[in-house]
């Protein structure tokens, strides 16, 4: 971010793109690098942080940075084709330019979580903010306890980061549980909703942190089930999203109660959110 003017974006060149999911609302991953390599000297992001990604002449939208800072030399964003900005971003491919303004917002307190067992519970595109958490722990394996990845989507085609998920299945020090909502031929894993899979896996709340991201309805039932399993609100983290324009706590619109999602969030402990009725509106 420009030191003196937080509205000015950096230019990035797209190095590589890939489609995570098919369909009208397909998800495309962009792997990008700053055109001015010097930006890396001051750029420092943490898992959970976001950036405004855009195109000059079209606009910007807020996305989580889906790469961990331990993946050096590039940034990753996974974008679902949905509205004006995301459709314009989807037109871009390797060699094209985008703008990035960030890093913005707060982050998962991974330093505080050292020595703990971490459970991530994701649904659909909600895996994007969990990906940097998972990869950060994988890169700092000895600093954390068990890592459990629970992830589901409507169909197997809607799972993001499939290549990585496959390798997770056989990776040491990581347990991966996948699900799809409805029965599918050849699907070897769980069939049902993510909150149900969570109860099947039934992680122990002892010395554990649960992080969940996904559709609001999934988050609601995941939190209910985590509480049933004995997780205290302080052990549960999630990220919120709302429409944003400035990303720096000025333009107003992303507030839930007195908190700005862009600035006070997007990462919140459930102990904070449980007292904010607008958090899950």
């Amino acid at each position: 971010m420009d030191e003196g003017n937080p509205y000015l974006p950096y230019t990035v060149r797209i190095e590589e793109t890939r489609y995570e999911t098919p369909g009208d609302r397909c998800i495309k991953t962009f792997i990008v690098n700053f055109t001015d390599e010097k930006v890396w000297e001051t750029w420092e992001h943490k898992p959970g942080q976001c950036a405004m990604v855009g195109r000059l002449g079209v606009g910007e939208s807020m996305f989580c940075i889906s790469s961990s800072p331990t993946e050096e030399g590039y940034l990753r964003f996974s974008v679902m084709k949905m509205g004006k900005v995301t459709s314009a971003l989807h037109e871009l491919d390797a060699g094209d330019f985008m703008t990035v303004r960030g890093p913005l917002g707060n982050w998962f307190p991974l330093d505080e979580w050292e020595g703990k067992n971490i459970i991530t519970i994701g649904g659909g595109i909600g895996q994007a903010p969990l990906r940097p958490v998972i990869n950060y722990i994988r890169a700092n394996r000895d600093r954390y306890g068990e890592l459990t990845v629970i992830y589901g989507s409507r169909t197997s085609k809607d799972l993001c980061f499939k290549d990585e998920l496959e390798s997770f299945m056989t990776e040491d020090g990581l347990k991966c549980h996948l699900s799809v909502d409805v029965e599918e031929e050849g699907w070897p894993h769980f069939v049902g909703f993510v909150p149900t899979l969570l109860m099947e896996v039934a992680p122990s709340p002892e010395n554990a942190i649960a992080v969940t991201c996904g559709p609001p309805i999934m988050i609601k039932f995941v939190i209910q089930n985590l509480e049933k399993l004995g997780f205290a609100p302080e052990q549960i983290y999630t990220t919120l999203e709302n429409r944003m324009k400035c990303g720096i706590g000025k333009c107003g619109r992303c507030n839930v109660g007195h908190l700005y999602v862009c600035k006070d969030g997007p990462v919140f402990s459930y102990s904070t959110l449980k007292d904010i009725p607008e958090a899950f509106a």
């Binding site: 002449g57 429409r243 000025k250 007195h258």
Partner: protein, 338 residues
């Protein structure tokens, strides 16, 4: 602190002498008094209760270019105002000056907004004490007053034959140095008259609200029926927020014309459905009830919780200009009763 006076007919002379400043002053255009850059000193009017559009537009224009670019290019040309341009805001009401300092807390929160900051730091603020408050003024309920000096560099009183000018800060003294020979020093008579006028003006204020306790009470009324009740006749026009001196919400849009492009920000309002509409179609504030709740809660609960001050100065504009007579004091009264 210095005390001065000048005869009313010398107002033009005083303004004429202020060549070092870019002067913003109330001017009557098409029957509406509004703050604009003063190119001709004779255009100023000080015959008004308050301007419809608050002088927030001087610091935070309704539409402002953030940067320019060429279509197809990647180079960005920032359009931040130079901090060295000396600005003089002359004749604004004390409530509107207070609003500047309230919203400053947001502009300078963590990320500093260089556009507003540079204007604020370059500006000298000369207030104009109220002698005739409007029917819906309630500034005294919020710690302000018709002759309140908070956030002013100097304050002007209309004493009938003459203007009495009192400086408050060094910036105010610097301004007086530039005012030229039309200024005479003032004394006990003018000071006493100004004080008496200020007191009388306070007595003329007819509306009030006991603010204590509202901030703590609002979160508990999140799902209360009052929001539907008070928003049922709301047209969603947003005038209550556009004309509010502390409302600061904005949209950011890219605009292109041939090969010239700009990213601009423009006033926006939480009273519009699009304000919070997600690309998915989901809207966390789907009806005017939730939007009204946000407007009131933001001013009287969220902003105080975050920045320690109520984001309302009691100027009465949202009451005066609401086309369906929705009255913030009625809503706050109901909040207190609930």
């Amino acid at each position: 602190m210095g005390e001065y006076k000048f005869s009313k007919e010398n107002l033009g002379k005083v303004l004429e002498a202020l060549k070092d400043y870019k002067v913003y002053a109330p001017q009557k255009k098409a029957d509406v008094v509004r703050f604009q850059e003063l190119s001709d000193p004779s255009e100023i009017t000080l015959e008004f209760t308050n301007t419809n559009v608050p002088p927030k537009e001087i610091m935070f224009p309704q539409t402002e270019t953030l940067f320019r670019f060429k279509v197809g290019g990647q180079d960005i040309e920032p359009r931040v105002p130079e901090p060295t341009d000396k600005m003089l805001v002359f004749g604004l009401r004390p409530c509107d000056a207070r609003a500047y300092s309230i919203v400053d807390k947001l502009w300078q929160w963590d990320f500093i907004d260089p556009y507003v900051k540079n204007r604020r730091e370059s500006s000298t603020i000369v207030g104009f004490a109220c002698s005739e408050p409007c029917a819906n003024c309630f500034c005294t309920s919020l710690g302000g007053g018709p002759a309140d000096e908070e956030n002013l560099d100097a304050i002007l009183f209309d004493l009938g034959e003459v203007f009495y000018l009192k400086t408050i800060t060094e910036k105010g003294d610097e301004f007086v140095q530039k005012c030229g020979e039309a200024l005479e020093s003032a004394g006990d008579v003018e000071r006493k008259n100004a004080q008496a006028q200020g007191k009388e003006a306070i007595e003329k204020i007819r509306r009030s609200i006991e603010v204590e306790g509202i901030s703590e009470k609002l979160p508990g009324l999140f799902n209360d029926a009052i929001w539907k009740e008070f928003s049922s006749r709301c047209l969603g026009c947003g005038i209550c927020t556009y004309l509010c001196p502390t409302c600061h919400c904005f949209d950011i849009q890219d605009e292109t014309e041939a090969l010239d492009g700009r990213r601009a920000r423009m006033w926006d309002t939480c009273m519009f459905a699009e304000y919070t509409l997600h690309a998915s179609g989901h809207n966390p504030r789907p009806t005017r009830a939730e939007r009204t709740r946000n407007r009131i809660s933001h001013k009287y609960s969220y902003f105080p919780e975050k920045f320690g001050v109520v984001a309302c100065v009691g100027c009465g504009r949202c009451i005066n200009f609401c086309p369906v007579n929705i009255d913030i004091l009625d809503i706050l009264g109901k909040v207190k009763e609930a």
